[in-house]
């Protein structure tokens, strides 16, 4: 376990100039009313070296690791990574964030560390969707079937996204591998400091992926994409696999805007919600936008967009509350302000969180906008 000093060194916290740019853009800072908290202040607390002061800071647990601050940091402090590593330290000190949903989702991940766990993971596959055991490409479904159960009442798209993904891959002439015993990628675990669970999940996943002989992994979840492509090689094993989000894969397959897909054109305007993992973490900004435009929709941007986009308000199923809600309400108001008919996101979690905020009975119409995943929007046009 790294000491605080190593974590500071590794993540360049020494270089903090206390300029406060991060505080100006942090989505948490304006809404956290209990105590003033900002990334800059948290770094300062870290440099002072008192662990409890760090762990008691609400931002330490509510930080979305959205990297919004990193975009502006003149010293290139890796704030999100600093928070991630320090959360590991906190966990070893018996501290952890407040889990939502009665810790059900974290518990599922822990259950999935059992090597011979029996999951009915492929129930969502329709008979007209084709998968194959002999393919270069593997579609990594992620937690969609699980969220489907927990958040159905919010009207989210869960396994529909997975079906849409396979449908698109089939249309591209790809019959992907789909694992029947896939595990959660471990994204939430690593960002909440639970490296033990993360490693167990990652090993199980890699073992199974490698056994298929696939060379490429395609995901519909930005978090899976980030974790498999960046964290697995660094923390578990340099697997040599090509990992990418489906939007990028589609564009790779058909670099021209027409693509190999024959999409029915549609009318209307759409706005796009950049998922932090896909955008700022993986640098994918253009592929989804290009695909939206390819459907014929008019793309209108929100006030905060691309590198400056506003996150969906919660990460890792932890520290959800008034602050998260306020961020979500803010983001939904921005979406409404565009006058778009639909808000398209590439991450199921954005969809869950924003749809949850839309449940607010008081704010009613003010927040009402259709929210859909890019994958399903595309698949519908096939």
């Amino acid at each position: 376990m790294s000491k605080l000093k190593d974590i500071i060194d590794r993540n360049r916290a020494w270089y903090c100039l206390e300029c406060g740019k991060c505080s100006a853009v942090c989505p948490i800072t304006p809404w956290e009313t209990r105590v003033y908290s900002s990334p800059r202040l948290l770094v300062e607390k870290a440099l002072n070296g008192n662990l409890e002061n760090i762990f008691d800071d609400p931002l330490f647990w509510s930080c979305l690791t959205c990297k919004r601050c990193s975009e502006l940091c003149p010293s290139d402090v890796f704030f999100s990574e600093f928070v991630r590593d320090a959360r590991q330290l906190a966990r070893s000190n018996g501290r952890s964030g407040d889990c939502t949903h009665g810790e059900a989702i974290q518990t599922w991940a822990r259950m999935m560390t059992a090597p011979d766990l029996d999951q009915s993971r492929l129930e969502w596959l329709n008979k007209d969707l084709k998968i194959s055991d002999d393919s270069d490409t593997l579609y990594f479904v992620g937690c969609l079937p699980y969220y489907d159960i927990l958040f159905r009442s919010l009207g989210i798209e869960g396994v529909e996204i997975a079906r849409a993904a396979v449908k698109i891959l089939n249309a591209l002439g790809v019959e992907p591998h789909v694992l029947h015993d896939e595990r959660c990628c471990g994204h939430d675990q690593i960002w909440e400091g639970d490296t033990e669970t993360f490693s167990a999940l990652a090993r199980l996943n890699l073992e199974r992926i490698k056994a298929t002989g696939a060379k490429r992994v395609v995901t519909t979840c930005p978090e899976c994409a980030r974790t498999l492509s960046l964290d697995y090689p660094k923390l578990v094993e340099d697997h040599g696999l090509e990992v990418m989000h489906l939007s990028r894969f589609i564009r790779q397959q058909s670099p021209d805007s027409e693509m190999n897909l024959s999409l029915q054109k549609m009318d209307g305007t759409a706005t796009y919600q950049d998922a932090c993992r896909l955008s700022r973490h993986l640098g994918v900004y253009e592929d989804p936008r290009a695909l939206i435009i390819a459907t014929g929709l008019d793309l209108v941007e929100m006030e905060h967009m691309r590198h400056a986009s506003l996150c969906c308000g919660t990460t890792g199923w932890t520290s959800c509350g008034k602050v998260s809600k306020n961020i979500q309400v803010e983001r939904l108001r921005e979406a409404k302000a565009t006058g778009a008919d639909i808000m398209i996101t590439s991450c199921v979690k954005c969809q869950i969180h924003l749809k949850c905020a839309q449940q607010d009975p008081e704010l009613g119409q003010e927040l009402s906008i259709k929210i859909r995943d890019l994958t399903t929007v595309l698949a519908d046009r096939l």
């Binding site: 209990r34 939502t100 959800c320 509350g321 008034k322 998260s324 809600k325």
Partner: protein, 1111 residues
């Protein structure tokens, strides 16, 4: 405080009234004449609901429950009544009985009319404590001068429990075997079977068990036959005379720790028993055995040691030798004289002397006795003998002479056989042995001369006149009926007086004219300090052995009291004072069952020697005979229940208890015919309700509350409690054995070892029975001595809240009650300020785990699994306590105000009754257009008006209005329709009451008033225990909680970006639905935090390994 209310009858209406009045903060006394609660109307609601209602009352700090209690009188006075209650004995301590049923199993008596045991409790009855059915003392037991629980041992014999029967007899008397043979059995004379056929052969049964013990003692050595010599208290007592009276004194005193020496003039043990009773009636080995048993207990017997001027020691010597007291039990060995001519001729002998000579020549092989006997029977077998007298001695002489081979023996008795003091069976056997008896015949003179001795006897026939001082009819001579008999030997056996030789010098002991030692009737003290007298020496020859034993017991108690400086009352059983039971016999019982006749030695065989005539019962005969017993008690006081009861809850000595109370009002909720006008007058302040109608109970409660002066606490108090429970956990673990109900399955030692190593545990103790007062005392002591702030009690209680559910039990409630859990905190506060802060348990957090039903009982056949489960549950609870965190509770000042709506007359009745209780009432005829809750109150508004009230009563005039009013509430609590309880007044919303228009408006209006009064009292609300708490920062204001709550407790407060949930602690029922549904886990349920639940589950799942280490 005000005087409180008296409720008569634990009917449904009675308990409802009690609950409502007590909830409103008024003391309630609820009396029930039966031993169990719930008479009329109990059957109209499901049993489990009734049970919870009773238990709610049992735990209520304002309620006193009186079972077995009648109202004996009522006197009206200004503003109330002086009432007197009469509580009949239950014989079982309600504070101690654990309801285990061991006593019921042990009880040998089944009451014929009910089929219950004499100690019993009906299944599911409340309180779940046994009661002994005892109408009084059985006639046999009350007749026994020796104080034996006669019916008790007969019942035990009937069950084949001979050892217990024997022990019970030996507890009362030292000579069971002797009494089993020669007792005059007053018990049998009083036996109620004589009304049907013949008395139970009680004496023979006693004899049977002593014989059985002799045969079985080696197999089952009993504590009676192998007594422990008690620890000496250092004081010494001398007893003069080793007869039954003296030996009883010695045996009783040695039990109390005195050191005893018995001085006996004769060379044989047992005084008159050995000298005066022939061996065919009382075999010598029986005497030897019973005397040896007493000697084993530490009584020292010195034979052939005479006390007196002519003996080895004088009384003064004895005092000088260090005896602290002397008891004279010298018997009556000097025969009375006939006072007729010829009485001094040779050939006239005294009966008792002759018996002594015969007995001694038999048993001691004494040559001088043989020579004397030879001389008396100078014509050998040709000697013709006339025996004068009708007592047992006369018959003993006659039958002994027959055995010596003398054929011509007559008994001459001046009265008829009905007046004869000898036992009828003695008379029958004597006649069987061919001894003619001349009744109504008196001796006139004895013929003969000094040389040749007696030659004849002149007698006269008698007739019976008026009764004399003894109650027997006086014999009157019949003139001219004289006749002469030719006899060689006249035996005079007309009674004896004490031989007071030892008192010849002036010892300061007063001797009466009829040659008895005069003693004080109750202390047995003679005129000389430290000298006592007992037995025939005191009464002259009027005592049977059992009477002598009885007197010996009393004397021993008196001597003990004397030696204690009269510091204590004589240690006597008070059950002796009970009235004689005389119950009606069932027709079944009245059918005859003949007495089993005693097998005897045939006459031809018995006259050869002094072999015992009666052969004794076999086991089967004894059991059959004992089963004839009618169980008159029906409790026979066999004390088997006392032996069985581990909680020491049984009090056979309990007496009627008179309780005087100062009462403000009375509600009669039972059959009115039951009480006379004197017991219960008519008039103001006395309310009568139909027993089976709870609504009327509530209505009466409202009228009582309105009539009493207001002296009730009216504000919700602040909830700050003593020592700070936020200190780090110092956990005390207590594991109950439940007598054995838990311990025989669950290994409590392993459990203790396992618990002791868990984090935060300071100590782990095993306690025997958690529901007894001493267990609470022990916990209290440990909490104080070890500075414990959290307690885990593994027993049979499961709920850690102060609630009762349908599976709860009286003992669990009692257990928590004695730990102070139901004491209202505001009442606790003054104690906290007192000097004895540490004594108070108010600052201790309790957690209960049920290891009886949940472990020991369900896994009775698998002790390992039961222990494992108990350990897991206990460990979970300990972890929960370790994570317990102080949750400050809100203090809401609640006004005593109510908003009444609706057009029914019930509204005005309710309003009037509440106004009398100083409740601020507001009336809205039309439903308000707006309705909401804020700040712990109901708020309502109309165009022009605005209301704020702590409670709401809806009193619609018809169902249409009812619907309109209920609709008002849909605004407050969304879609949830208003539900009412079975009685129809309380709704599912706390503080909202409904007067059903279909019911009588007077009653329902009053009932609603009672409910409002109860609701406004702080006693009914204890915020903090179960209330869910919402974290404002974690709340997403999604209203999920509001959707799921049935009670309208969660509300959204705050503006815009700061909107969050607040849970109204008054409305929260503690169900936890909101906590379970909250997506951001912002709500914590009252009973347990998520963190605690996690830890509990994890601990329970991992406990197996730990347990194996500790095994």
């Amino acid at each position: 405080m005000n005087n409180g209310a008296l409720i008569i009858g634990s009917s449904l209406a009675g308990i409802q009234a009690a609950q409502d009045i007590a909830d409103a903060g008024v003391d309630v006394h609820l009396i029930e004449s039966a031993p169990f609660l719930g008479n009329a109307g109990a059957a109209t609601i499901p049993h489990h609901l009734f049970t919870t209602r009773i238990l709610e009352l049992a735990k209520h700090p304002r309620v006193s429950l009186w079972t077995n209690t009648d109202l004996s009188q009522t006197e009206e006075r200004l503003g109330g009544f002086d009432v007197q209650l009469r509580q009949h004995p239950r014989y079982v301590d309600l504070q101690r009985c654990t309801g285990c049923g061991d006593c019921i199993e042990a009880c040998p008596v089944t009451v014929p009319s009910t089929g219950n045991k004499a100690i019993f409790f009906p299944k599911g009855a409340q309180p779940e404590c046994a009661v002994i059915e005892k109408f009084g003392k059985a006639p046999c037991s009350s007749a026994c001068p020796g104080g034996i629980h006669v019916q008790g041992y007969v019942a035990l014999i009937a069950q084949g429990r001979f050892q217990e029967a024997f022990d019970l007899i030996c507890e009362a008397i030292p000579f069971p075997g002797i009494c089993g043979r020669i007792c005059t059995h007053p018990c049998e004379l009083n036996c109620r079977r004589t009304e049907i056929d013949a008395a139970v052969a009680i004496r023979q049964l006693k004899r049977f068990v002593t014989d059985w013990i002799v045969q079985h003692d080696e197999i089952h050595p009993s504590k009676v036959t192998n007594p422990q010599v008690p620890v000496s208290n250092g004081r010494r007592v001398a007893v003069v005379g080793a007869g039954p009276a003296g030996m009883t004194v010695a045996e009783r005193l040695v039990r109390l720790g005195y050191r005893l020496t018995v001085f006996e003039k004769m060379p044989v043990l047992a005084g008159m028993l050995a000298a005066g009773i022939p061996a065919y009636r009382l075999p010598r080995e029986v005497i030897d055995r019973e005397y040896k048993r007493i000697q084993k207990k530490g009584v020292n017997i010195r034979l052939s040691t005479e006390i007196g001027p002519n003996g080895q020691y004088t009384l003064d010597d004895l005092f000088r030798m260090g005896y602290d007291a002397i008891c004279l039990a010298i018997g009556a060995h000097q025969s009375l004289k006939l006072r007729i001519p010829g009485e001094n001729l040779p050939g006239v002998v005294k009966g008792i002397q002759l018996l002594k000579i015969i007995n001694f020549s038999q048993q001691r092989d004494d040559p001088s006795c043989k020579a004397k006997l030879h001389q008396i029977l100078r014509k050998g077998s040709k000697t013709r003998v006339a025996i004068l007298g009708g007592g047992n001695t006369a018959f003993d002489v006659a039958r002994s002479l027959k055995r010596l081979g003398i054929p011509d023996v007559w008994i001459i008795y001046r009265r008829s056989c009905t007046e004869m003091p000898a036992l009828p069976e003695e008379l029958a056997e004597t006649e069987n042995e061919d001894v003619p008896i001349q009744f109504l015949t008196a001796p006139v003179r004895i013929f003969g001369d000094r040389q040749a001795g007696v030659s004849g006897l002149e007698c006269i026939r008698m007739t019976l006149g008026t009764p004399d001082a003894t109650g027997r009819r006086r014999p009157v001579p019949v003139a001219g009926s004289e006749f002469k008999m030719d006899v060689d030997l006249v035996v005079v056996s007309i009674g004896q007086v004490p031989d007071l030789g030892l008192l010849e010098d002036d010892y300061g002991i007063f001797v009466t004219k009829d040659r008895r030692i005069q003693v004080d009737g109750s202390t047995f003290a003679t005129d000389r300090d430290g000298v006592f007298a007992v037995g025939d020496a005191v009464t002259s020859d009027h005592m049977s052995a059992i009477e002598a034993i009885g007197m010996g017991k009393k004397a021993a108690a008196a001597i003990d009291a004397y030696l204690n400086g009269f510091a204590s009352e004589p240690r006597m059983s008070t059950t002796d004072e009970m009235p004689v039971a005389c119950r009606d016999l069932t027709p079944d019982e009245r059918s005859p069952k003949p007495r089993i006749s005693m097998p005897v030695l045939p006459v031809s065989k018995r006259l050869k020697d002094f072999a015992e005539v009666e052969l004794g019962y076999s086991e089967t005969q004894a059991i059959t005979e004992a089963q004839r017993c009618l169980a008159c008690g029906p409790c026979g006081e066999c004390m088997a229940c006392i032996q069985a009861c581990k909680a020491q809850a049984i009090v056979h000595e309990q007496r009627e208890n008179i309780i005087d109370l100062d009462i403000g009002a009375i509600i009669v909720a039972e059959d009115l015919q039951k009480y006379s006008h004197e017991q219960l007058p008519e008039g103001r302040g006395i309310y009568r309700v139909a027993p089976e109608e709870p609504l009327r109970g509530s209505a009466a409660a409202a009228r009582v509350l309105a009539s009493l002066p207001i002296e009730r606490p009216i504000n919700v108090p602040t909830y700050a409690v003593g020592a700070d429970p936020r200190d780090p956990a110092r956990i005390g673990v207590f594991i109950c054995q439940c007598g054995g109900a838990i311990a025989k399955v669950v290994d409590t030692r392993v459990l203790t070892r396992c618990s002791a190593t868990l984090p935060g545990v300071i100590r782990a103790d095993i306690i025997d029975q958690a529901c007894l007062p001493e267990a609470a005392e022990l916990i209290r002591r440990r909490v104080t001595s070890d500075d414990i702030n959290r307690v885990m009690l593994a027993a049979c209680a499961c709920c850690s809240l102060d609630q009762v559910c349908f599976s709860c039990a009286y003992q669990r409630v009692r257990c928590k009650q004695s730990l102070g859990l139901f004491t209202h905190e505001s009442e606790n506060l003054p104690n906290l300020e007192s000097s004895d802060l540490a004594e108070n348990l108010a600052h201790v957090v309790f957690e209960f785990v049920n290891i009886r039903e949940h472990c020991a009982w369900v896994h009775a056949d698998d002790p390992k699994a039961a222990t494992a489960k108990a350990s897991a549950l206990a460990a979970s609870a300990i972890m929960k306590l370790g994570l317990w965190s102080y949750r400050p509770t809100q203090t809401l000042g609640i006004e005593r105000s109510v908003l009444i709506m609706g057009g029914s007359p019930a509204a005005s009745i309710c309003q009037r009754l509440l106004n009398k209780q100083e409740v601020v009432t507001a009336y809205a005829q039309r439903p308000p257009s707006q309705f909401w809750r804020a700040d712990g109150h109901f708020m309502a508004a109309d165009n022009s008006r605005h209301w704020r009230a702590a409670a709401v009563v809806m009193a619609p005039v018809d169902s249409a209005e009812a619907e309109r009013l209920c609709h008002t509430f849909k605004i407050a609590s969304k879609h949830i329709p208003l539900r009412t309880d079975p009685i129809g007044v309380e709704t599912h919303l706390p503080g909202v009451f409904f007067c059903d228009p279909a019911m009588d408006s007077r009653t329902v209006g009053a009932a609603a008033a009672a409910k409002v009064a109860a609701w406004l009292s702080p006693l009914t609300r204890r915020p903090g225990m179960i209330t869910a708490v919402a974290d404002a920062n974690r709340c997403r204001a999604c209203k999920t909680c509001i959707e799921v709550c049935e009670y309208g407790a969660p509300q959204l407060v705050g503006e815009e970006s700061n909107r969050h949930c607040w849970i109204d602690p008054i409305m929260c029922a503690g169900c936890g639905a909101c906590a379970a549904h909250c997506p951001s886990s912002a709500i914590t349920a009252g009973y347990s935090t998520d963190e605690q639940l996690d830890a509990m589950i994890e601990t329970a799942l991992n406990d197996g390994d730990r347990l194996n280490e500790k095994r």
